[in-house]
């Protein structure tokens, strides 16, 4: 099955990349952008979803600074 994992900076963690994009969008004429956060998208094909959560905790994210969510895509 296909799994999609989203990893992003935890709330309150400085996200300089997101900040840079947030600053750049109005400069290009896109108004009304309040926040931008940049994270990571990980797609995997696995035989079973049983261990996906452990993968997220142990390797795919760093719980000190990141949070994650995942879903079965197909």
């Amino acid at each position: 099955m296909k799994i999609r994992v989203l990893v992003r900076p935890k709330e309150g963690i400085l996200d300089p990349q997101g900040e840079a994009v947030r600053g750049a969008l109005p400069a290009l004429g896109f108004g009304g952008v309040k926040t931008v956060h940049i994270g990571r998208l990980i797609e995997m094909e696995v035989e079973s979803a049983d261990e996906v959560d452990a993968m997220c905790r142990r390797l795919l994210s760093n719980p000190t600074i990141e949070e994650y969510e995942w879903e079965v895509v197909s």
């Binding site: 963690i13 400085l14 300089p16 990349q17 840079a20 390797l59 795919l60 760093n62 000190t64 600074i65």
Partner: protein
């Protein structure tokens, strides 16, 4: 220690690139350099370990995230738990944080650029095996070279690090946005130290400075040499 030279191991991950510099600096310290290949679960009876800088596994996921699972890390964790002196430099610091041997994490520099420069730091704690040879409050000029050196820990952890005197080095000019200007910390047992600056790069008068040897040679003080 068996009478011979103090044996200092340097871990080598596939993308380590300061490993040879660290081995060279160990020679400059007057100790015996020992290569510790990542795929071998063997610390080869070393007396101390340096986890050097570089890009251990390309750092594509997060710096240090994959290195933590290398075969050599098992015995290294055991060595650290028994009080063996371990220092992580730059990427090595990142590896030790990912391996939970040290608290916190190293985020991307706030200015989002790699920074290679010399910075002034102050030695804040001398009761670790890697700073025992320095004076408390001593100021050193050390090289930094990193993209993720911005130390982060939650407020509670930061407060504990400060209270327990576990901030080992502090920047006098913060090059990366690090919390509390932290350049280096140690674990509760004080035997595991992580620092962003590179002492091995200033361990030779031919390069203009030997200030890094004050840090590296500290471990010989602890070893009674």
């Amino acid at each position: 220690m068996g009478g011979g030279l103090v044996r200092i191991g340097v871990t080598i991950f596939p993308g380590s690139n300061c490993d040879r510099d660290a081995l060279y600096a160990v020679g400059r310290m007057g100790a015996e350099p020992v290569e510790l290949w990542h795929a071998e679960a063997d610390l080869k009876r070393v007396d101390a370990v340096i986890v050097p800088g570089g890009f251990s596994y390309g750092d594509y996921l997060r710096p240090g995230a994959i290195a933590r699972f290398a075969a050599v890390m098992g015995p290294l964790e055991g060595f650290a738990a028994e009080g063996g002196p371990v220092i992580g430099v730059c990427n090595g610091f990142q590896v030790l944080c990912e391996a939970h041997l040290l608290p916190g994490a190293l985020l991307q520099n706030t200015h989002m650029r790699f920074v290679c420069d010399r910075v002034r730091v102050r030695v804040e704690a001398t009761n670790t095996p890697w700073t025992a040879g320095c004076e408390g409050g001593e100021e050193l000029t050390l090289p930094v070279a990193h993209n993720e050196g911005n130390f982060f820990a939650d407020a509670e952890t930061l407060a504990r690090l400060e209270d327990e005197d576990r901030v080992v080095l502090r920047y006098l000019e913060n090059p990366n946005g690090s919390a509390n200007d932290i350049a280096g910390v140690c674990n509760e047992g004080r035997n595991v130290v992580g620092i962003m600056p590179h002492p091995e790069r200033v361990s030779d008068p031919a390069l203009g400075s030997e200030e890094g040897l004050k840090i590296l040679r500290s471990v010989l003080v602890g070893a009674g040499v």
